[in-house]
Amino acid sequence: MSDTTGNCCCGNCSLTEAQIIEELEPMLQEYASKPGGVIPALQIAQTRLGYLPEEVIKRIAHLFGKPYSEVAGVVTFYSFFSTVPRGTYLIRVCLGTACYVRGGNELLQALKHKLGIDVGETTADRLFSLGVGRCFGACGMAPVLMVNDDLHQRVKATKVGEILESYRAQAATQAEKEAVKA
């Protein structure tokens, strides 16, 4: 849970989580003096880190002089806060009516199986996160799934392996390029 060695979610820099948290500190401190500042502070941290690691929630609780359980209560109350890191690729399977009846759920099960994670979780290599959606406005091409901003249509459960592989390859090329630059 408290892995702070991962990289920033923007993908363009190589700051470690610990460095980002340090950078965030003055901004969070500023919010601490304002009433009702907890939610904005959490939002800023999440935007920067992609999720809310335990240390950050504790840090915010300390800065605001609030009990950890209270801030955790806020984090768990709002569905837009996440305490698990986002993978490079967020896969969202549509479970709207059209997609559901045409095999959306089978897709989801296949992905869970292939990735070994549940909805709301991220793979250990932080490459994939799994989520569900309620209609992406592509009902005619059901079942659909989104990987970040890419829409995949009429996906068959047997094909999810291929899709995952293509993103793994993409991630590998990206990493190579960065290594060369460095």
Partner: protein, 590 residues
Amino acid sequence: MIQVTINGAPVSVKPETTILQAARQAGITIPTLCFLEKNDPLGACRVCMVEVEGAKTLMAACATPCADKMVIHTNTRRVRQARKQVVELLLSEHDGNCQLCDRSEDCELRNLAADLGVRDITYQGAKAAPLMDTSTPALTRDNSKCIKCRRCVTVCSSVQGIGALFPQGRGFSTVIGPAFTRKLDGVACVQCGQCAAVCPVGAISEHSAIEDVWRMLDDKTKTVVVQTAPAIRAALGEAFGLPPGTRVTGKMVSALRQLGFHAVFDTNFTADLTILEEGTELLTRLKTALVEEKKVALPMFTSCSPGWIKFAEYYYPQFLPNLSTCKSPQQMFGALAKTYYAKKIDRKPEEMVVVSVMPCTAKKFESQRPEMNASGVRDVDYVLTTRELARMIREAGIDFNALPDGEMDSPLGLSSGAADIFANTGGVMEAALRTAYEIVTGRELPVDNLHVKAIEGLEGVKEAALTIKGTVPEWSFLEGVELRVAVSHGLGNTRRLLERIKNGEATYHFVEVMTCPGGCIGGGGQPRFTDDSVRLKRIAGIYAEDEGKKLRKSHQNQQVLDLYAQFLGTPLGHTSHELLHTHYTERKTD
């Protein structure tokens, strides 16, 4: 004054009075669940609904202020129906298994359902998944019984100023508990059990030691002795239908004998001992400061309340040097029972079992602290709350109210009235003053009937000042010194006091802190339900116990003096240091 009518009868109340308060004033009962006396109403459970003429909807009595000429009805069909519906809804989501629940005798939900005539449950809701938490030595939590009334949240954050429990998540899946529905040992909880004291149902209770104690009583190779805390003797009777504050010391002793304990002793004995050790420690610190003019940690804080100790270790580590190094009376007793007493009866520490009966859940935690093994083994083996003792008495089929009065055993059974008042806020301080003043001046504390009025009662923080005059030669450096003392109870009040001390806004020589509101008589292990009226009655019972004794000063307790003569030597001497004193450890909050 505002005039309202409740059920046809005129009632006049002060402005800002809520309908609930007005009704109580008029002797009319309105059921409540989420409401907690002296705290802001949540208006969450809706079981207190009443009809107000002119209002379209029913109003929550706990959260609605009276207005002039308001006409209120508390028992119309509509009101009864609505309340019943609320309770039915709660029951439909509730993992009710009353026969097996430890609250079956005094569950507010069960009683409410009976009072409101709930006979069957129309809805069948999804039940919350069980989520048992036995992670701490003091408490068990069973979320499947939680009705989400949030009393525990209010008491933990507003009264105790800790905030270990909060609603997590939202809607049906809301869980009331520590951060991210973790276990209680994952957050900074001081184990005070005030959450368990206010919970209306079986969702938070003490971590029971009953089975362990029965097992020890059956084990013929062990010598099992019991010690009883001062605060239980004015509360235990409540579990057998007696009014709060009824003094049942003698019956309690008889009951413990019938349960099979080999000797029935008194934590009061070590309370007297604490006064000698702690009083000497205070005078020594004052001497260091005033005569040797060396830096020494003042004010000195009392150290008998384990919730307070844990609180200081978490939140005020800078004050740890200020805590008296005296162990609590419970732990002093354990250390002596397995050394001094064991030797007298020719047993080894390993053959002894020490059981405590305490008004407190934090005492369970304290007995498990790793350093509490001065006798070479665990000094106190098992801690029962007042409630658990009552249950054991019932399990054994003892007719408590018919018991004759028994006497405590010696040599750890005699106690002064000063020890009795350890049970309530202000009591430890008063006991200390009775002895310290007399040591320093050779005369009795010059107050009416030995009571220091300024530090009695339920005010959150109390203080007193006493100018020392006519000292004996040994303590002449204290001549004319104004001794300033303060007393706080409830950790929220304590935090406020500590902040003032920290910021230099107040200076004292000696400060008494008790974790629970009202002191130990309001402890987390006492019979439920405890409100201020109950606290005051228990306190009155304790003072009556004190005043009923000839021996009212700790330093005149002959058994304590014998203990020094035969075993300990002098207060703060080498053996005392080994057995009766301790140290503290800074803890990280979450």
